[in-house]
């Protein structure tokens, strides 16, 4: 009806004059319950060819002859070793509570004497062929479970019958059956067996790549320990990918220096130097970049940003404008020193925070300690300005501070308090 309304079509033409009277009473009767008027109207106002599902019939259940009540009754669990009695709701039909063991007891993997006897009997009959035994076993147990039970029982018998000193060499005692390991091993084996050819190919590729990476790592570590033998196969790889100047970072030279970052900073430098030597030619800016990355490998992004901020405040270019050998060396050393400085400051703050947390009242801060919104990457509630040691020195940050003095910082050297002025470009 509504659709026709929208379309502007005339409503049912012929029947209108005749059935006008009979219509209104018929319509409400015709409209079935269960589906809404609009939905029914979508079908065109006529009954569907197929009888629609009567929704009201759907949720009805067959009338039950039984009388069902629910009772709060005690129960015991055969799987338990003690006599614990708990309560739960029980569906009682016609006054008869259900029989049988607690439903979840069957999930307990305990071995009964009967089961164990059956196992040993089968073991004897089938010569410890556990696959056959598992098939014949009455209750469903996996091969690994049967093995585990058999070996542990045998071991218990052995240790009970023989003096402990004699049996330590016995395989049952020396290499006990590890069921979880066995399950895992067999699962992995079946996975390997069912691998498709593509997966196999991918695996070999990944393994070859890993081998190459470890070899280059060895090669990079080689020079710092002994004289470097010709590592011809690594050389071409590195130089092919890592010749360019500023913009491009190589993919293989980086892993060797990135992996070496787990060792000390000196090793970082040495391995970066080694990988640089592999290249037949490189730009000094590229070399500096690599060294900087190696030195900052242990630092987070935040720390690196702070190093750069410090450099800027000191009036030093983040990338040297005249990158000679001397300039690059100085720049690198400066960066490393700043990094050390920041790390020390962080450690200091941690120590201080630990100190304050041991105190009783959480409100016992020393006066003048600045409060700052906690940073996302640190748990410390207070984080004084890292360069706040020299208080007014770097005035930009201090403008936001109200308390100029930092009495809480213990490491302030006496000489610093004598030089409160900000470093200017004209100073140098």
């Amino acid at each position: 009806m509504d659709a026709k309304d929208i379309l502007g079509l005339p409503k049912n033409q012929l029947p209108i004059p005749q059935e006008k009277k009979s219509r209104p009473p018929k319509e409400p009767q015709r409209k079935p319950d269960g589906i809404s008027r609009e939905v029914y109207a979508l079908t065109g106002g006529l009954a569907p060819l197929m009888p629609s599902v009567d929704v009201s019939q759907l949720k009805r259940r067959p009338p039950s002859d039984e009388k069902v009540t629910w009772q709060w009754l005690p129960f015991t669990n055969s799987a338990r070793k003690d006599d614990l009695q708990l309560f739960h709701w029980v569906r009682v039909v016609n006054g008869v509570p259900p029989t049988g063991d607690y439903a979840f007891a069957k999930y307990n993997k305990a071995w009964t004497k009967e089961e164990t006897d059956q196992l040993f009997d089968l073991c004897e009959r089938f010569d410890l062929r556990f696959i056959v035994i598992a098939d014949r076993f009455p209750s469903s147990r996996t091969v690994e479970e049967l093995k585990d039970r058999y070996y542990s029982v045998s071991r218990a018998l052995l240790s009970a019958r023989a003096p402990p000193a004699d049996i330590t060499g016995h395989p049952l005692v020396k290499e006990p059956y590890n069921i979880s390991q066995e399950v895992e091993r067999k699962r992995a084996l079946s996975m390997v067996l069912s691998q498709t050819k593509q997966q196999e190919r991918k695996d070999t590729e990944v393994l070859a790549e890993a081998k190459r990476i470890t070899e280059s790592r060895m090669a990079a570590k080689g020079p710092e320990e002994s004289e470097l033998p010709a590592v011809a196969n690594i050389g071409p790889d590195n130089s092919q990918r890592a010749i360019t100047g500023d913009a491009v970072t190589p993919s293989t030279a980086m892993p060797s220096s990135a992996i070496a970052a787990s060792s000390t900073l000196m090793a970082d430098n040495a391995s970066t130097l080694a990988s640089l030597r592999m290249l037949r030619v490189y730009l000094r800016t590229y070399a500096l970049d690599q060294m900087v990355q190696a030195a900052s490998a242990s630092a987070g992004l935040r720390t690196i940003k702070r190093v750069e901020q410090t450099l800027q405040e000191l009036g030093v270019n983040l990338k040297p404008k005249v990158p000679t050998k001397a300039v690059c060396a100085e720049h690198l050393e400066l960066r490393k020193e700043i990094l050390t400085l920041l790390n020390l400051q962080k450690q200091l703050q941690y120590k201080e925070a630990e100190g304050t947390s041991f105190q009783d009242s959480p409100y016992s801060e020393t006066p003048g300690t600045p409060k700052r919104a906690p940073r996302g990457d640190q748990d410390r509630p207070f984080m004084p300005d890292p360069l706040g040691f020299g208080g007014d020195r770097f005035g930009k940050r201090d403008q936001k501070r109200k308390a100029p003095g930092r009495t809480s910082e213990a490491a302030q050297s006496p000489s610093q308090s004598k030089r409160p002025r900000k470093m200017k470009a004209s100073d140098i």
Binding site: T244, D246, A247, R277, L279, V316, V322, L344
Partner: protein, 250 residues
């Protein structure tokens, strides 16, 4: 033609002179092979270079498609001739240029063009065989329009962008060292006393060398000055900051 070896595979006509040149090169390289295999351990030879662009606004002569005239180049940092080390330079321009791959076989390694757009120029350096058999790639963004956009562009004052860098050759060959130990463009390491490698006898083409440096280059007035001293001073001062002393306390 009869001088050519059998089975050389050289083309008949056009390759005749090329074949001859090749033969000569092969012949002269052989005694150098020994020098190539002996390398200087724990030493590096470095070549300080400056590369960049200078762009002039054409003013009245400017058109829609050609508003600027610019030059891209690679020069020695002290304007010395680089050709002892660099054999050729390839500039890769924007594809909208005709023959965007421009090869410069002789110094000064530069290229001038007219255009209207800024883009990244790829500069590939190829070295002599005894120096390095791998190329080195640099990238430079061509800047035509000045930072200060106030007022009309001057045709007299160009937009200059230069970058300083040093090409480092670790473990250089003895032949390379011998050849460049007295070259003003190259930084060679100080070798221990008693270390003697005689320079090759064959002199280089002197007339070419005179033109190869950029000391009297027409654009030399615009070259930037790169002073190591300034930067070193700043760095030293920074490292001596009192607050830096903290890391040596505790």
């Amino acid at each position: 033609m009869s001088a050519r070896k059998q089975g050389d595979g050289q083309p008949e006509d056009g390759g005749a002179t090329a074949g001859k040149r090749l033969k000569i090169a092969k012949f002269s390289e052989d005694p150098e092979k020994k020098g190539l295999s002996r390398r200087l351990k724990d030493a590096e030879i470095s070549l300080p270079i400056v590369y960049g662009t200078i762009a002039f606004y054409l003013g009245r002569k400017a058109s829609e498609s050609q508003s600027h005239k610019w030059t891209v180049y690679v020069r020695g940092a002290t304007n010395e001739d680089l050709s002892a080390v660099i054999k050729r330079v390839v500039f890769q321009l924007h594809p909208s240029f005709n023959n965007p791959t421009r090869v410069m076989e002789a110094p000064p390694f530069e290229l001038s063009e007219c255009g209207w757009g800024e883009f990244e120029i790829a500069i590939s350096l190829f070295f002599h065989p005894d120096v390095c058999d791998k190329q080195l790639d640099l990238y430079h963004h061509l800047k035509l329009y000045p930072e200060d956009e106030s007022g009309p562009q001057s045709t007299k004052k160009p937009v200059v962008v230069e970058s300083y860098d040093e090409i480092v050759f670790p473990d250089p060959s003895e032949a390379f060292y011998a050849r460049v130990q007295n070259n003003p463009a190259v930084i060679v390491p100080r070798m221990p006393a008693g270390f003697n490698i005689s320079a090759p006898v064959a002199p280089e083409n002197t007339s070419e060398r005179e033109r190869g440096d950029t000391k009297d280059h027409p654009l030399s007035q615009w070259f930037m000055n790169f002073s190591e001293a300034d930067e070193l001073l700043k760095l030293a001062a920074a490292r001596q900051q009192p607050f830096m002393e903290m890391i040596y306390e505790n």
